[in-house]
């Protein structure tokens, strides 16, 4: 089914994104490892994250800094003071039966508020001279808050009715989460996808979260259309399914409206296998969370402007900033710059290569035109390989790319020959300069030698001179003969100039 999402009346989509701060060493309130993955059940726990009686939460200050960086990346304001609240509800995966989180109803408690995210056209691949019509609307960020992850319930079976038991693994309990809540400012599912991709990219640049880790980023979606109430979709386990779930939900809601059925405010769950949303089993009532300030964590005075400027100085460059630098300082084309910036790994690779040879345009061309093309080919032929594997593969290195750029830029090697050298070096790990020397492939730019060759050709085939008057391709034909004779070593530019010179001379003579 193809759905046109462009003209749906008042389609409003809002997001709640949960992101684990996986790059922290420890959990949010104790010294257990943040990296709980692949550990035997309940081994990554301590009295604090198990909520044993008498234990107190000990705030991880680095988590506050990480969350603040995320706030800055989304242009949020950061208050002078932040505080934590208890959200009380009973669930077996929640060791204390309350979650320590932030809550803005009674005071400004959260680490970030009133943010704004602009879709940078260049980052999205829109044309650089786009008019306002193509400009995507910016997305308001309601708030960003810091909170703890619960543990995990492992069911005996997917179907709850036939379960005899369920098991609880608290290894994840207490891992730091940042929740980003947007206003319902998205008007199309594809914008949501672009935004989520961009979030992943920003997290990678900030080095706060590794989005590749399973379950490190989760997203709930709110969808409403004209005349209907807001429907929340939960349980969307992969980012890929977010767009699908929204499309499904729009269709469902439109169908209801068409039949004059009211769209109820409700929570629905995404069924991953059937790719549909289903009403939550028991109608989830307006939950009573009995929020109140967490008495064990005193209000934290962040330090205002000093804190923010200090953070900025230790923050990594963001994708948008890097893109601007590539375009404005390096004069790289927007298209190439965008490809580099959209992956931090590739962009970092580029930055490394520049350290060996500082010719940004040529180096960027080598990465985008040669290296990434190779990677794409390889990925197609072997889906198990990812671009990362290849980038970190045995013979690929920023130094090699830099050397290639240098070979070409200093005009000692033709581009086609350089490609061959590149292929060989990738396979063997040879140094390109050594290879050039060894193969004696130094370009012939000696004008006398080339001129002699041209003269010989013209004297062997005198008709070429006459034909050249009517057919401009003759010069290219002669160049081809030279290349054949020199096995491609002749400098094409020098050769071409000489050909034209000699023809015009012969012409005058005749």
């Amino acid at each position: 089914m193809k759905l046109d999402t462009k003209n749906i009346d008042q389609l409003k989509i809002g997001l709640e994104i949960h992101c684990q701060l996986t790059n922290l060493n420890t959990k949010l309130f104790c010294k257990c490892l943040c990296n709980y993955r692949n550990l035997p059940p309940n081994e990554n726990t301590c009295p604090i994250c198990l909520g044993l009686p008498g234990t107190l939460p000990l705030l991880n200050k680095r988590a506050v800094e990480f969350a603040s960086m995320i706030c800055l990346a989304f242009n949020c304001s950061i208050p002078e003071k932040i505080s934590f609240y208890r959200k009380n509800y009973f669930y077996p995966d929640l060791p204390k039966n309350f979650q320590i989180t932030q809550y803005n109803s009674y005071e400004l408690s959260s680490i970030g508020y009133n943010g704004l995210y602009y879709f940078a056209n260049d980052l999205l691949g829109g044309s650089s001279d786009s008019s306002n019509e193509n400009q995507k609307p910016s997305v308001r960020i309601t708030r960003i808050q810091l909170e703890e992850d619960p543990g995990k319930i492992v069911y005996e079976d997917d179907k709850s009715s036939i379960n005899n038991y369920s098991l609880i693994d608290y290894n994840r309990a207490g891992v730091a989460l940042v929740e980003i809540v947007t206003e319902p400012d998205f008007t199309s599912p594809s914008d949501v996808r672009l935004f989520l991709n961009e979030i992943i990219n920003i997290f990678e640049y900030l080095e706060v979260c590794d989005p590749a880790l399973e379950g490190s980023i989760r997203c709930d979606v709110n969808v409403s259309i004209s005349g209907g109430k807001k429907v929340e979709i939960k349980n969307i386990s992969s980012f890929k399914d977010v767009e699908k779930s929204i499309l499904y939900e729009i269709t469902r809601q439109k169908t209801l409206v068409m039949h004059d059925i009211d769209v109820q405010a409700e929570t629905r769950h995404w069924d991953e296998r059937r790719k549909i949303t289903i009403a939550a089993r028991s109608k989830e009532k307006e939950e009573e969370y009995k929020y109140f300030p967490e008495p064990d964590i005193p209000r934290i005075n962040l330090g205002g402007e000093n804190f923010v400027s200090g953070l900025r100085s230790q923050m990594h460059e963001l994708p948008a900033e890097r893109l601007a630098r590539y375009k404005d300082t390096f004069k790289i084309t927007p298209h190439t710059a965008r490809i580099l910036v959209n992956s931090k790994k590739i962009s970092d690779f580029f930055e490394q290569a520049l350290k060996f040879y500082s010719a940004p345009v040529e180096v960027s061309n080598w990465i985008v035109n040669e290296l990434l093309t190779k990677i794409n080919e390889l990925e197609k032929s072997d889906s198990s390989k990812t671009s990362f594997n290849i980038l970190s593969g045995s013979h690929m290195s920023p130094r090699l790319i830099a050397s290639m750029a240098k070979l070409v830029e200093e005009k000692t090697t033709s581009r086609s020959m350089a490609r061959e050298i590149f292929d060989t070096c990738l396979k063997t790990g040879d140094d390109p300069f050594e290879l050039v020397k060894r193969l004696d492939t130094k370009r012939i730019s000696n004008t006398e030698q080339i001129a002699d060759l041209i003269k010989k050709i013209v004297s062997d085939q005198p008709h070429l001179i006459n034909q050249s008057k009517s057919n401009p391709n003759v010069t290219n034909f002669i160049l081809g003969l030279i290349m054949k004779e020199t096995q491609g070593k002749a400098d094409p530019q020098v050769s071409m100039n000489l050909i034209r010179e000699i023809i015009s001379q012969s012409d005058k003579q005749s």
Binding site: G51, G54, F90, Y289, K290, F292, D296
Partner: protein, 487 residues
């Protein structure tokens, strides 16, 4: 040898060091005393005798070999059963935790053991600290050593009664709304609630986090001071501890003679107390006057709202704190087979005592959506107004004086069916918890029927030293630490 249990801790330490008797001998006497008396007092929930004897032998060896020993070398200490001691049951006097053995030490326990104190057992209390009489215990009520038909006060009733009945020289209690000072007053011992943030709460099972502190109980101020100093101080395991804690000391007579305090008398509260308490407090006031301290009557404007504010805040926090007791990770034995987890939860939670259930319900109610502003926010407002009032008072005064409790100990069961009447008894003590200020209860005499009562002093934040100074003065004039109950 037989009467060693009558000695204060500071004397015992020096006698063990001098070799007058060994730590092992002393601990054996203490064990004998507890065994002999506890059937009448019921202050212990768990005893740790074997381990205590082992430890005493180690300390004797240390002394013999000339190794350095701590300031409590060989001293048995009783710990309220809501403070975690590794390897011992931590029941909080609740059936909910009847099988729960703690896997870790509270910070105060680590600090005491660093000073070679010996944990002799865990002491009885009101369930989760919720009570003023120590009658709400799953292990039966604590009995007042001065008359075992009467309440010992609470919630740290076991901690006060054990010290008062000469079972042990020192103990730790916790004070959320008077839980150290009330039983200290009823049992004629000294009990001190430190400034909020002085003593780490790490390992104290939370009842109301923003109000409570662990504090020392002893028969003499000379034992209170080293105990307080040992447990005080900033702790990386409690974000609410403060770096501004000061060490206290016993000042010389000369120093005390020259110190002149401005003392505010809460005359309304004094006058509203039992008449025998009024005259006992007056004796203390006269004593201060004799020593040329400046006295002045003062009034509190917000006092009428204090009890309500206190019970809203305390129960709100309690309802959340106690929600973790779902018997999933720990608790007591209950076979989960046949239960769905919500029904298992309900079944588990039914083991709370009635008073605890009452407070959880109350706390859940005041935190409900729509009621937050009406109750919790208002209570916090009252709290900050009372705080401000005291801030202003302490710009002028050094000490504020009032009775610890308005009443003498009453009969077991006498008030158990009237919760509001009991809540109102907390008025004099909750002030210090709402404001976070340090307060001490010092024995002030006995009624003609032989029931003790205490005088309470409140000082400005982190000025425990002033409380100690006055306590020394009182103790030198009338040493109730030498009055022992007949058992």
């Amino acid at each position: 040898m037989k009467d060693l249990f009558k000695l204060p801790a500071n004397l015992v330490v020096s006698k063990i060091k001098n070799g007058e008797f060994s730590a092992e001998e002393y601990i054996s006497v203490i064990i004998g005393r507890i065994n002999e008396t506890d059937s009448r007092i019921n202050s212990f929930i768990t005893t740790n005798f074997e381990d205590a004897l082992e430890k005493s032998k180690k300390i004797d060896k240390k002394i013999q070999t000339g190794e350095k020993t701590g300031i409590f070398a060989g001293i048995p200490i009783g710990i309220k059963d809501n403070i975690n001691v590794k390897g011992l049951k931590n029941t909080c006097a609740s059936r909910m935790l009847s099988d729960y053995i703690s896997p870790y030490n509270a910070t105060v326990i680590d600090r005491l053991e660093d000073q070679d104190a010996i944990v002799i057992g865990k002491l009885n209390m009101d369930e989760f600290g919720m009570g003023t009489t120590s009658e709400f215990s799953a292990y039966g009520p604590v009995r007042n050593p001065w008359n075992t038909g009467y309440v010992a006060g609470g919630s740290s009733g076991g901690s006060a009664a054990a010290v008062s009945s000469l079972q042990i020289p020192i103990s730790l209690g916790s004070d959320t709304g008077g839980s150290i000072r009330c039983p200290a007053s009823f049992c004629s011992v000294i009990g001190l609630k430190p400034t909020y943030g002085t003593v780490s709460r790490n390992g104290l099972v939370s009842y109301s986090n923003s109000l409570e502190q662990i504090g020392p109980i002893a028969r003499t101020i000379f034992d209170i001071v080293p105990l307080l100093n040992t447990i005080s101080g900033e702790d990386i395991n409690d974000n609410t501890t403060s770096p501004s804690t000061n060490f206290c000391r016993i000042k010389s007579d000369e120093e005390l003679r020259t110190a002149k305090f401005k003392v505010g008398l809460l005359s309304d509260l004094i006058q509203s107390s039992d008449h025998q308490i009024i005259s006992g407090i007056q004796d203390k006031i006269d004593l201060l006057e004799k020593h040329h301290h400046h006295l002045e009557n003062i009034k509190l404007s917000m006092i009428d709202f204090a009890v309500a504010a206190y019970y809203i805040i305390a129960t709100a926090e309690a309802s959340s704190n106690l929600s973790r007791f779902d018997n999933i990770r720990y608790g007591y034995h209950l076979n989960p087979e046949g239960y769905e987890w919500t029904s298992y939860f309900s079944k588990s939670r039914s083991l709370f005592g009635d008073e605890v259930k009452l407070r959880i319900l109350l706390g859940s109610y005041v935190l409900s959506a729509g009621y937050f502003g009406k109750y919790y926010a208002k209570a916090q407002l009252v709290r900050s107004l009372i705080r401000n009032e005291f801030k202003n008072l302490f710009q002028k005064f050094d000490i504020i004086l009032l009775p610890t409790m308005p009443v003498l100990p009453f009969k077991l069961g006498e008030k158990i069916s009237n919760p509001v009447e009991i809540y109102n008894l907390d008025l004099f003590t909750i002030i210090a918890n709402l404001t976070g200020l340090p307060a001490i209860s010092i024995p002030a005499g006995f009624s003609k029927e032989g029931f003790p009562f205490g005088v309470q002093l409140i000082a400005n934040a982190f000025e425990e030293q002033k409380l100690v100074d006055i306590a020394v003065l009182f103790e030198k004039e009338a040493d109730y630490g030498e009055c022992f109950p007949e058992l």
